[in-house]
């Protein structure tokens, strides 16, 4: 997938560079782009590491576990079959609370465990579709990487986008769940 995207981008640049007579600028940009990535990573480094330290403290302090317990009623509504499967429920709770806190490293393994429990053979169950939809809607309390990116780009208040991000995620998750219900077909 990435192969095609990357080659596509380079090819389009080459064609447009030739058409616009900007081939020299395109070559120069190739070197600048990699340098800009290094610069960006350095600028992001401090904020991202600090945030990652705070998250580690929250995790060690049991915030994820508390959040997981609070989420149980919601999870049982979303994934009814988890009622009879405590291991699946635990994985789902871990996945959702890690997502909310922005613990990407913890969210994916838990999500995979939950996906395995919810799969029915090689066909996706409704619950597995819901799990994927919710994970791709990215509901998180503090999108740290994006805020660090804003800070690196000189934003006056990097975190002032949070309410807009929360509302966007919520609407997107709600729309995804509604679409899951509408597109669902009985008989697989």
């Amino acid at each position: 997938m990435m192969d095609l995207i990357w080659v596509g981008l380079i090819l389009v640049s080459l064609v447009f560079g030739l058409l616009n007579g900007r081939t020299a600028a395109v070559s120069a940009a190739a070197l600048e782009g990699a340098g800009a990535a290094a610069e960006l990573c350095l600028k992001l480094c401090g904020a991202l590491c600090l945030w990652s330290g705070v998250l580690k403290l929250l995790e060690k302090g049991g915030a994820a576990a508390v959040l997981g317990r609070l989420l149980r009623p919601l999870l049982l509504r979303l994934y009814p079959e988890a009622r009879e499967d405590p291991a699946a429920l635990a994985a789902l709770a871990e996945n959702m609370s890690a997502n909310l806190l922005g613990l990407g490293n913890a969210a994916t393994p838990a999500g995979i465990r939950a996906a395995k429990a919810l799969a029915r053979g090689n066909t996706a169950s409704d619950s597995l579709c819901r799990l994927t939809v919710l994970n791709s809607a990215s509901i998180q309390l503090i999108p740290a990487a994006v805020c660090a990116l804003r800070g690196a780009a000189g934003a006056a208040q990097p975190f002032d986008i949070l309410p807009a991000v929360w509302l966007t995620s919520l609407c997107s998750a709600a729309a995804g769940l509604a679409a899951e219900r509408l597109l669902r077909r009985p008989g697989r």
Binding site: L40, A124, S172
Partner: protein, 170 residues
């Protein structure tokens, strides 16, 4: 009050660890190390995609593409500059981050386009990556309606990013 927020958060995160029997400083530094690990993993794909995005901009393709999409995006209430970001977002997380970084550098982080890009990056995930990881791990071949539903969520997020950013910031 606003200046107290971060110090309070640090304290709030630290106290439970202290009460639970310590290891506070060690956990904090471990977190920093993990953050460094994230950057270590982010840099190679970010460098590769940022190279491509920078070339795209220098060639004039980004401008042409923006002009092409402007009427459609205008109708949807989105700034025309975020066209490339919209296309890349569900496909590749690092390419979307690269497009977002380019956009913030060009238009400013606090411009309407820069803010819309940030809200969009924060409020969505790399849909096709999530789908491939979860279904791949579970050994599921028939994804049924998962991809259309996830894309409906993405489309909603694009529209909402435009709406809420304008609502809060203009």
């Amino acid at each position: 009050m606003k200046g107290l927020l971060l110090p309070l958060l640090l304290l709030l995160a630290a106290l439970p660890v202290l009460l639970r029997g310590g290891g506070l400083y060690e956990s904090l530094t471990e977190g920093f190390r993990e953050g460094l690990g994230v950057l270590y993993r982010i840099f190679p794909p970010l460098g590769a995609t940022l190279t491509a995005v920078w070339m795209l901009r220098a060639s004039g393709a980004l401008e042409a593409f923006t002009a092409l999409l402007a009427p459609l995006l205008g109708k949807l209430g989105l700034p025309p500059e975020i066209g490339a970001l919209l296309l890349l977002r569900p496909l590749s997380g690092s390419a979307a981050l690269a497009a977002g970084a380019e956009l913030m550098e060009r238009c400013g982080a606090d411009s309407l386009a820069g803010r819309t890009a940030a809200v969009l990056l924060g409020g969505t995930e790399t849909t096709f990556y999530v789908v491939s990881v979860y279904f791949g791990a579970a050994g599921v071949r028939r994804t049924r309606h998962a991809i259309p539903a996830a894309l409906a969520a993405d489309l909603t997020a694009f529209l909402c990013a435009g709406i809420f950013t304008r609502l809060f910031f203009s």
